[in-house]
């Protein structure tokens, strides 16, 4: 059956024979266990195995074990069916996506009370998000004249209730229509039929989720993928009130997990392609330009063309492409340069690694050149040995299993959902170009030697502006996603950002950078709050890692110091709060000339101070500045 790829999560390698033993061994391990949990979770596990792995995670957590580098996330789970079977699957699947998930459940059927009462179990648990796992049976009177509006009002009240009473966002599910038509084909246009009504509810839900902080889980699309008649099991509903066939529970759980990971900014960003028998049929070194198969009209060649077309479509939405191939460089580049049927061309590839080193080394080089972590990488290779090697050497890299038939490569890769995202902006679209340009810069830098003359040659222009409505989405996105260059890792939603725009006491900066290679877009975000009469505390300072080592921080500080002076502030106070990911900036304030005034022994935070009379030297870039609000005073 062709839904096997989905149902069996066939992009994951088979579970090890001694899975149970490996899992039990984790309970005795000292030190952080997150990496091991993630490794075990990244297999094709049965629902029993997932349930047991979840139990191990729960036990480890209550024993006080360190689950790092998994990122904690608390998820409220409410719904109208039996969710006890799926809850542990969510926990285990989340580990696969780098999340230490804690699930908070409610009593069956207490939906509205849970949302409305500030003291309810879900609300008092202060969840990061609440998953509204409702199916169509939760909507009474479906097909009645008011059912569409009733359903939307009901869902709106739940979402608003959780938000108001706990601050949690909602993960909202679309509704899979029942497998039985009421009228027949005309169902689609009749609100009096479940399908017609649910179509309209789903459209409206998707729209309202996109217009809010809430996140959409498109269960209707999942059910479409596997087929409604498979998705809905009347026996299992009757037997145990299972809202969908339990055979799909691991697939559903993986979807929830990848969405949570996307909320935490942990989606992957780079697709690394092997070449021979992955991007084209055959071996270029043996078969030559005429021998490899990529032609239209050739069934084998078209399968590989589909891989290329898919890579290009991913690139167009901002996924960076790279190549890792065991080949002589000039031979591997041949098809990209000369083969008329190739869709991929050299300038689509940010980093091209064709050599005879092992692939783990090459993938590390690619990550370095792009200034991205290994956990942002996906590696596509038809060769099981290479896949296995990379999984062992670099467990952070996602390496999908591939079926024997290349016709199914694209479906398998895309079913894994590595590049899940919860928002898409114009800047995302250009991201592949950003990173590609950055790789060029790294290469140039390596050859340039003298950093200052290199920086000068970049013709950088920096743009400072206060937060505004136009930048809001991107600001919120950076605040949600930046982990490494982030001094305090405080997360603010889009609504919070809007509030900051209006707050007269708060000083904000959004920073953009262009250079000789192109527009880097927004690269830094700053929030300062007053502390006492004479100081600003830097509440948030984050920066995109793709502009590291370009003295942008220095220019930002220069801007901050000048602004602080204009506001009559004598001191700037910087705070560094350590996380698993931000060791990069542990010396940030020291390097900028701040003096350390305090260490908090418990969470390792450090506090720093700078006199605003300090002259911060200029770095080689041109400054542009939009007026700060409420700064009507004449220029000096």
């Amino acid at each position: 059956m062709s839904d096997d790829i989905l149902k069996d999560l066939s992009w994951l390698p088979r579970a090890p024979e001694d899975f149970r033993k490996q899992r039990r061994a984790l309970s005795d391990k000292t030190g952080p266990v997150g990496q091991d949990l993630r490794f075990l979770a990244t297999h094709r596990l049965s629902d029993s195995q997932l349930t047991q792995l979840a139990q191990t995670i729960v036990d480890l957590r209550s024993a006080g074990a360190d689950l790092a580098p998994l990122v904690p996330f608390r998820l409220g789970l409410v719904g109208n069916g039996t969710l006890d079977l799926v809850a542990p699957l969510l926990v285990a699947s989340a580990a696969r996506h780098g999340i230490a998930l804690e699930v908070v459940q409610t009593e069956y059927g207490q939906l509205m009370q849970e949302a409305m009462s500030p003291q309810s179990g879900i609300n008092s648990a202060k969840c990061d998000a609440v998953l509204l796992a409702l199916d169509y049976r939760a909507l009474p009177g479906l097909g009645s004249p008011t059912s569409v509006n009733d359903a939307l009002a009901f869902l709106g009240a739940l979402r608003e209730g959780f938000r108001q009473n706990s601050g949690a966002i909602s993960i909202v599910q679309t509704f899979a229509p029942p497998a039985e038509a009421l009228f027949g084909h005309i169902d689609r246009v009749l609100d009096a039929s479940p399908r017609g009504a649910l179509d309209r509810i789903n459209t409206e839900l998707a729209r309202s989720a996109a217009a809010s902080d809430d996140v959409l889980l498109d269960v209707a699309a999942i059910a479409e993928l596997v087929g409604l008649a498979n998705w809905h099991s009347p026996q299992q509903w009757n037997l145990a009130k299972l809202p969908f066939d339990a055979a799909y529970a691991p697939f559903y759980a993986d979807h929830v997990a990848r969405l949570v990971a996307a909320i935490k900014g942990k989606s992957r960003r780079v697709l690394i392609l092997d070449l021979d028998n992955t991007v084209w049929g055959g071996v270029i070194g043996d078969d030559g330009l005429e021998g490899i198969r990529i032609a239209q009209g050739d069934a084998v060649g078209e399968a590989f063309l589909a891989v290329q077309a898919n890579a290009l479509a991913l690139r167009a939405r901002g996924v960076v492409l790279a190549v890792s191939s065991k080949n002589t460089d000039s031979v591997a580049r041949g098809p990209f340069r000369e083969h008329p049927e190739m869709l991929l061309r050299e300038d689509h590839i940010a980093v091209f690694q064709a050599n005879w080193s092992d692939k783990a080394t090459n993938i590390k080089t690619i990550a370095n050149e792009l200034s991205l972590g290994l956990d942002a990488m996906v590696f596509l290779d038809d060769n099981p040995m290479e896949r296995d090697l990379v999984r062992r050497m670099l467990p952070q890299v996602a390496v999908p299993e591939l079926p024997a038939d290349p016709a199914l490569y694209v479906r398998t890769l895309m079913a894994a959902g590595y590049f899940e995202t919860i928002a898409f902006s114009e800047e995302d679209r250009k991201r592949a170009d950003f990173y590609q340009d950055n790789a060029k810069r790294v290469a140039l830098q390596a050859s340039a030697g003298d950093l200052d003359s290199y920086l000068a040659s970049l013709n950088m222009e920096i743009f400072f502006a206060p937060f505004d409505a136009m930048g809001r989405k991107r600001i919120a996105q950076l605040i949600a996603k930046s982990n490494q260059f982030n001094l305090t890792t405080r997360r603010y939603t889009e609504a919070d950002v809007a509030t900051l725009e209006e707050d007269p006491d708060v000083f904000t900066l959004q920073v953009r950078l262009t250079d000789a290679f192109g527009d880097n877009g927004m690269i830094s975000v700053i929030v300062c709050r007053p502390q006492g009469e004479d100081a600003w505390e830097i509440d948030t300072w984050l920066m995109s890692c793709r502009v590291l080592k370009r003295r942008v921080e220095q220019m930002v500080l220069r801007e901050l110091v000048e602004a602080a002076r204009r506001h009559g502030k004598k001191r700037l106070i910087g705070v560094y709060i350590p996380t698993e990911r931000n060791a990069l900036v542990v010396e940030h304030y020291a390097e900028l000339g701040f003096t350390q005034v305090e260490t908090d022994a418990t969470d390792g935070r450090t506090v720093w101070e700078l006199d605003t009379a300090t002259e911060v030297p200029e770095a080689p870039m041109t400054v542009h500045r939009a007026a700060q609000r409420a700064e009507a005073e004449p220029a000096q």
Binding site: R20, S46, D47, S48, Q235, N238, A246, A247
Partner: protein
């Protein structure tokens, strides 16, 4: 019948996370730690998948012990 019991042992060990369980005709929910109503559902679903059979709700709740279950599976497989 022997193969059914072997496979049932495998499924029981998997569902109840216990290497010691062995399927026998008289084994019942009372003999196994953690065999509650939820675990029963997981067990039945695992059997359906493992043996490629389907049980009605009535059948699923009617088995008093593993022996009756094994007979039920055998009957469905020959049907």
């Amino acid at each position: 019948m022997q193969d059914i019991y072997e496979k049932l042992t495998e499924i029981l060990q998997d569902v109840f996370d216990d290497d010691e369980i062995v399927a026998s005709p008289t084994l019942s929910a009372a003999d196994v730690d953690g065999w509650d109503s939820l675990a029963h559902v997981r067990f039945i679903l695992a059997i359906e998948r493992g043996f490629g059979v389907k049980f009605s709700a009535a059948e699923a709740s009617a088995f008093a012990n593993v022996g009756e279950l094994a007979n039920g599976i055998a009957a469905k497989r020959t049907a």
